[in-house]
Amino acid sequence: MTLEEHKEFPVDSASLKEIRNFAREVLAKDEMFSSTKDDVVLAIAEAAQNIVKHAYSGQPTGDTMRVEITFKDNTLKIDLFDKGKPVIPQNIKPRKIDDVKPGGLGTFFIGQIMDEVIFKTSASDWVNHLILTKNY
């Protein structure tokens, strides 16, 4: 089975529900994802939230972000592109889980759910390119 779907969304917290629904629809196309679908949807939504919150500092913008979901050779790959502030990968660290405070959990969740997380910059027409992969 191969899968290749993509969609662009306004960079806005109001888009998060649409992004989740898009991911749910795509992942509902094969039963293989049924047991992990909710977790993967959470990881995608957390990554999209980080774009709104950090790449754009929560400021209103007319920009869009692009979400691509592909499945090939037993690997689910999620690509997220944005044109916000360039991400400095070294600065992105999940907070220590025993440090109980509001915030900083999104990156931790992504790391728990996905097998690999890669940040790239200067991605063609975009600024940031986040790649999340999970093996099946």
């Binding site: 998060l16 529900k17 989740r20 909710d38 025993d98 915030g103 999104g106 931790f108 969740f109």
Partner: protein
């Protein structure tokens, strides 16, 4: 997200409904925090919450910490399976009060 509040004595029960993400956390805080600040014991019924992300979890942590600071408590009730999974992923099941 929608909500309903019932009060009995010093206990305020907030029934939350829907999906709790970054887009609705301010609204959730506006509902919960004044009850805590009024010294109420707050019961959050999460039976009808189908989705919660890290922003929603932050509201739970913030509410729990604010209540502890003011000498009251926030108790999570009837947590839906999907929300409990996220709470456990965050390893908060021993920190938040769950009944």
């Amino acid at each position: 997200m929608s909500y309903k509040i019932t009060e009995e004595g010093n206990v305020a029960t907030v029934h939350l409904d829907g999906e709790i993400d970054m887009d609705v956390t301010e609204k959730a805080k506006e509902v919960i925090m004044p009850l805590i600040e009024a010294g109420k014991e707050v019961h959050l019924n999460l039976k009808e919450v189908q989705y919660m992300d890290s922003s929603g979890i932050s509201v739970l942590i913030e509410s729990h910490q604010k209540a502890a600071e003011l000498g009251t408590k926030v108790i999570l009730k009837e947590i839906s399976k999907s929300v409990l999974k996220v709470i456990m992923m965050a390893k908060l099941e021993q920190i938040l009060i769950i009944e």
